[in-house]
């Protein structure tokens, strides 16, 4: 049996990327830029200056109504009802068992209005879960994914890039006063713009939500203003090594339906004192003693363990890598892995089976990389 072939989707910035000479890759059913020139150069640019990413594949939902806040408290793992307006919060969508359906970022746009951003690969399941869970609440969930493009500007000079970009105006709050994980409204050439100080790289940076029809003009304006400062277009290859260094999970690698939040170190994301929410029974149960937990691994040399490679303590197989690479910033191999709880303490000496060769590795606390404030 074969799956029906679904043609890949394209970003509203497709022609812009093609003109920049991007190579493309399939990600969550979308053909997106994997790199423009060199993934290492793009990675280093984000650590030292800034990169501009098209992440328009992400799915967006607008949740509105008098009971929008208590609906999200019921539908998601966190407590969204106490968020101040214009704050952002990382959250999880759980199934009843406590398994993770998706990880999300939620922005509060008003007392009765929230913007929920999900992974492209989980667009369908998230839409279905939110639609099913909203029943009985005085709230509506509108899938606005096709209406919005999403551009991320990430790196230590990200703020300067936005401030130098003509056309970005009427900010509800000056960028200098906008804290991490907060957002504000603005306009770009008269088109409404949501400016969020969020990201997936471990650097300071912004994510900009705008009508798809205005995305190419915004991208061009940012790149024109930012290029002289060191801004470069960056693809999903750099995005993946950046988020790995920052210890950030990627759905389908570190997170899945078979993983409960505590296993992935995300127990803090769950407001387990809430009266009722989907997944409560699952997350209140203790994590079984034989359930693996997420750890960081570091190794010497240049040969990196990669997703799927097995991890051993002595001769005993204790787990499996979910993401791994030679860290461009740290210049040694790093990986995230699920290992048995007995092998998960910081400093535990393990080995990685790298295609038949055992590479010594040490369990370490995440993240691997933390920016200097």
């Amino acid at each position: 049996m074969t799956d029906p072939v679904v043609p890949p989707r394209h970003s509203p910035l497709r022609a812009t990327h093609e003109a920049l000479g991007a190579s493309f890759t399939d990600f969550g059913g979308w053909l997106m830029p994997v790199r423009y020139t060199s993934d290492l150069a793009e990675h280093h640019a984000v650590r030292t200056a800034a990169g501009i990413f098209d992440i328009s594949h992400m799915a967006e939902f607008l949740v509105e109504g008098h009971e929008a806040a208590i609906f999200l408290d019921y539908a998601l793992a966190g407590r969204l009802s106490t968020m101040p307006v214009w704050k952002a919060k990382y959250s999880l969508l759980l199934e009843r068992s406590g398994g993770i359906l998706d990880d999300l970022v939620v922005y509060r746009l008003g007392d009765h209005s929230f913007f929920v951003v999900a992974n492209a690969g989980n667009h369908g399941p998230v839409a279905e879960a939110l639609a099913a869970r909203v029943s009985g609440f005085e709230a509506t969930v509108r899938d606005v994914s096709d209406e919005y493009a999403l551009i991320a500007v990430q790196g230590p000079i990200a703020r300067s890039v936005l401030e130098a970009t003509p056309g970005i105006a009427d900010l509800g709050r000056p960028l200098a006063d906008l804290p991490y994980y907060a957002a504000t409204d603005a306009f770009f050439e008269g088109v409404p713009l949501l400016v969020a100080r969020t990201g997936y790289t471990g650097e300071d940076g912004f994510e900009l939500y705008i009508a798809a029809s205005a995305a190419a003009r915004l991208w061009d304006a940012l790149l024109a203003a930012g290029s002289p400062l060191g801004l470069v277009p960056a693809g999903l290859a750099a995005r993946d090594t950046l988020r790995l260094e920052a210890g950030m999970p990627l759905y389908g690698h570190e997170l899945s339906l078979d993983i409960v939040p505590a296993q992935a170190g995300l127990g803090r994301v769950v407001a387990s004192d809430k009266n009722e929410f989907v997944g409560r029974e699952g997350v209140l149960a203790d994590v079984p003693a034989d359930a693996p937990v997420l750890v960081g691994l570091v190794a010497d040399g240049k040969r990196a363990g990669r997703a799927g490679y097995e991890v051993y303590r002595g001769d005993e197989r204790v787990g499996k890598i979910t993401s791994g690479a030679l860290s461009p910033t740290l210049q040694h191999p790093i990986a995230m892995a699920f290992v048995s709880q007995a092998a998960a303490a910081d400093g535990t000496a393990l080995t990685i089976d790298v295609r038949g060769t055992r590479i010594p590795a040490t369990v370490t606390a995440l993240p691997f990389y933390r920016r200097k404030k």
């Binding site: 060199s38 040969r303 990196a304 295609r355």
Partner: protein
């Protein structure tokens, strides 16, 4: 500038430059672009015997791992230490300083390899 039409190719994206019975082997720019930035190269030692089609080395990028296949049967005469020290040569100069190994081969066996037109057709005529 390397004359790409004078080289032979394999379906595994190696190029082979023949000088008598000495074959210099590297990977094509198509393969290097697909891999992304190469960060680690492992090559067979000089003096080792290799058989056509055998996996004899690894080429790792930040994103993935590629295997190096011996395009022909023979003895490895030299491995490129410069590319082991600086794997980015595979991206920056795949047909020049980014060469990987030199193998002493039976030159007649090279007739079975692909010519430029066949290789370009194999990669979708992207060049």
């Amino acid at each position: 500038m390397t004359d790409l039409n004078a080289l032979k190719y394999t379906a595994e994206h190696e190029w082979i430059a023949l000088d008598g019975d000495l074959a210099t082997v590297g990977i094509t720019d198509f393969a290097a672009d697909k891999l992304g930035d190469v960060v680690f190269v492992e090559l067979p030692a000089a003096g080792s015997d290799v058989s056509a089609g055998q996996v004899v080395g690894e080429i790792e990028s930040t994103k993935s791992v590629g295997e190096l296949y011996a395009p022909l049967t023979g003895d490895v005469v030299e491995a490129n230490d410069a590319v082991v020290d600086d794997p980015s040569l595979v991206n920056s100069d795949p047909y020049g300083d980014g060469w990987l190994v030199k193998i002493r081969v039976d030159a007649a066996a090279a007739d079975d390899l692909l010519d430029r037109d066949a290789y370009v057709a194999l990669t979708g005529g992207a060049e």
